[in-house]
């Protein structure tokens, strides 16, 4: 092969490499979703079937007695996700009696149980499934709210962690609204 064509060969190899990788999208990971059109998609009632941290089967109906359900999609390897866990636990304890349910949604299990026990988390933790794909923004943490019937309350998912006061304001607006 002529040496001058090496960089072109490199570029070709890279192209083939990436195109091969792109040709078989994994269905169990998030799909390309425009969350600005989520409002239209969210007209359907939200439901899911998955397992919790102990492997027990859970469905949306397990939380349907709550007035407002906060789904907090997080990952153990995400520092801001972990930093808001104690605040979410406090809010859960404070507003549980008023109809708030907080559900943590994870994908990765590396260090998961240690982090949950270290932070004294008592609200349920469930494994993400395809039903949550439409709320994924590409960022963690991402949070959305529904009511007990599965109707999505948040216009667009909340991106990033918030302080205790910020989440309290958001939760109260849904509990009172």
């Amino acid at each position: 092969m002529k040496i001058v064509k090496k960089p072109l060969a490199v570029l070709l190899a890279v192209s083939v490499f990436l195109l091969v990788a792109c040709s078989s999208p994994k269905k169990n990971f998030v799909s390309d979703t425009d969350t600005r059109s989520a409002k239209a998609e969210q007209a359907e009632e939200f439901s899911f079937t998955t397992t919790d941290i102990n492997g027990k089967k859970v469905t949306f109906e397990d939380y349907s007695t709550a007035k407002v359900i906060m789904f907090n999609m997080w990952e153990p390897w995400c520092a801001p996700c972990r930093s808001e866990l104690p605040d979410l636990q406090k809010l859960y304890k404070k507003y549980k009696s008023e109809g708030l349910m907080i559900v943590g949604v994870y994908s990765d299990t590396d260090g998961l149980k240690d982090i949950i026990s270290e932070n004294g988390i008592k609200y349920p933790m469930i494994k993400s499934c395809a039903a949550f794909d439409k709320f994924q923004t590409g960022y963690v943490p991402t949070t959305f709210f529904t009511d007990g019937s599965g109707k999505v309350l948040s216009d667009v998912p909340y991106v990033g962690s918030k302080s205790y006061e910020e989440w309290e304001g958001v939760i109260l607006s849904y509990l009172k609204g």
Partner: protein, 49 residues
């Protein structure tokens, strides 16, 4: 092969080691870990938030 001389042996050895490492990583599903952390960005990890 005539090109397989001293310094090229080291290069070939490194390339072979790299391929073995990649294969071992794929067998352990480490490529899935790469994907998982590249499709869900922790904002603080890129300095936002």
């Amino acid at each position: 092969m005539s090109w397989l001389k001293n310094e090229n042996l080291l290069t070939a050895g490194l390339l072979l080691t790299a391929v073995i490492l990649i294969a071992a990583g794929v067998a352990m599903k480490q490529n899935h870990q790469v994907l998982a952390k590249a499709v869900r960005i922790c904002l603080e990890c890129i300095g936002i938030g």
